[in-house]
Point group: C2
Chain length 199, copies 2
C-alpha cells in the first residue's frame, strides 16, 4: 500500500481489512476510511463487537454449532427431533437450512471437510463428537457440500456410521430451483436426470 | 439476518460489518466468521487497529490531509513545492496522485464536495483553511472529481481564488489511458476532442 504519507495507524487498519476473505485493496481502503469517519462511540462498539464475538462464542457441547452457552438453542429446543441429525460442514450451512423452515431435526457441524490437499483429515473435524451422540439417533442426513471434499466427507462418515445401524442419507442432487436449464452444468443435469421422480 | 439461533455476539458483529460501504449480507457474514476464526491475539490486534486509527489520526493543520502528527509528511517535506497546491476531495485522492510520482507540490483536502442535495455546503468543507494558506501560493490545481458536485466545487473555489490573484487550473478531461475508445462515453469523448493536442 504505497500510502505516500505517514499514517501508520491507517495502513495498519487497511491491512487488517485486507486480510479478510474476499476483500481487496480498494474495499479495505474504503472500509478503513469508513471506520475513520465513525464517531468514537461507534468505533468503540465495533471494536468490542470483534472482541465480544471472539470471547463469547464457543461450540455447542452437543452439535458443535456456535453458541454463547454450553449448548445451542437448537439442541436445547424440546420441539426439535433429536432422532434426526443433519451433518453440515459449517455453521453458515445451519443458517441456510434453518432458513427453509422445513427441517425440525438437529444438526452436527463438522467445521470443515476432509481435504488432504489442505492437510485436513478426519481428526480435524468433529467426527468424534458425532460418534459420541448417536444414542437414539435414527437417521443422519449428510448435508456436506456437493464438492469433491464434501463428497469424500459424506462417504467417510457414512462408512463409519452404517455398521452402527444408523440410516445415512445424502441431500438430493439436481437443478437448482429458479435456475435456467440452459446454464446448468452437465454433471448437475446428469444427476438431475438420474434422480428424476414421477409427478 | 434470520440466524435461527442464539448467537447475539455473532449477529452484532455481522451487523457491524454490514454497515460498511459496499459490504452486503453475505460478505459481512463471511467477514464475521473470519474474525471468529482468528486467534485471540489477532482479534485483539484488529480491535485495537480500529480504536488506534480512530484515536491517533487527525487532520494536518495545513492541508487537512490525515496524519498522526500536527502536520502531514508532505507539508513537512522541504522538497515539496509549497507554491503549488492541488485541491482534492478526499485523502484517497492524495494517495492516487502520489502514486503517479509526478507531482511535487502540496495538497489541500476538502473532505467532500459541494452537494446541496446531501446538505453539504461550502462551510462543511475545508475551504476556509485553503483561503488561510494562500500566502506564497502561485497555482491552485482543482483536482476534484469529474462529477457534478466535484465540478461545482471546482467552480466555487476558483471564483473565490481568482480575485485574490491566484492562478487556478483544472485537471484535463479526456479518454483514460489504456481504455477502449469504443466504451468511452460521449461526454468524455467530446471533452477529449476539445482538449486535443498537437503531437
Amino acid at each position: 500500500m504505497g500510502l505516500g504519507y505517514d499514517v501508520a495507524a491507517l495502513s495498519e487498519l487497511i491491512n487488517q481489512f485486507e486480510r479478510m476473505p474476499g476483500i481487496g485493496k480498494k474495499s479495505a481502503q474504503r472500509m478503513a476510511f469508513y471506520v475513520l469517519g465513525m464517531d468514537p462511540a461507534d468505533a468503540e462498539k465495533f471494536a468490542s463487537a470483534i472482541l465480544g464475538a471472539h470471547e463469547k462464542i464457543k461450540r455447542c457441547k452437543i452439535c458443535c454449532n456456535l453458541t454463547e452457552d454450553e449448548t445451542c438453542s437448537i439442541c436445547r429446543n424440546e420441539a426439535r427431533d433429536k432422532k434426526i441429525v443433519c451433518v453440515v460442514e459449517d455453521p453458515r450451512d445451519v443458517i441456510a437450512i434453518e432458513r427453509t423452515h422445513e427441517f425440525d431435526g438437529t444438526y452436527h457441524v463438522l467445521h470443515g471437510s476432509i481435504s488432504p490437499m489442505d492437510g485436513i483429515g478426519p481428526d480435524q473435524l468433529t467426527i468424534k463428537e458425532l460418534l459420541a451422540r448417536l444414542d437414539g439417533v435414527e437417521e443422519v442426513i449428510m448435508a456436506t457440500n456437493p464438492t469433491v471434499s464434501g463428497e469424500a466427507t459424506a462417504m467417510y462418515v457414512s462408512r463409519l456410521l452404517k455398521p452402527l445401524g444408523v440410516k445415512v442419507t445424502r441431500l438430493a442432487y439436481g437443478v437448482p430451483v429458479g435456475a435456467d436449464l440452459e446454464y446448468a452444468d452437465e454433471v448437475t443435469l446428469t444427476r438431475a436426470m438420474e434422480g428424476r421422480r414421477e409427478i
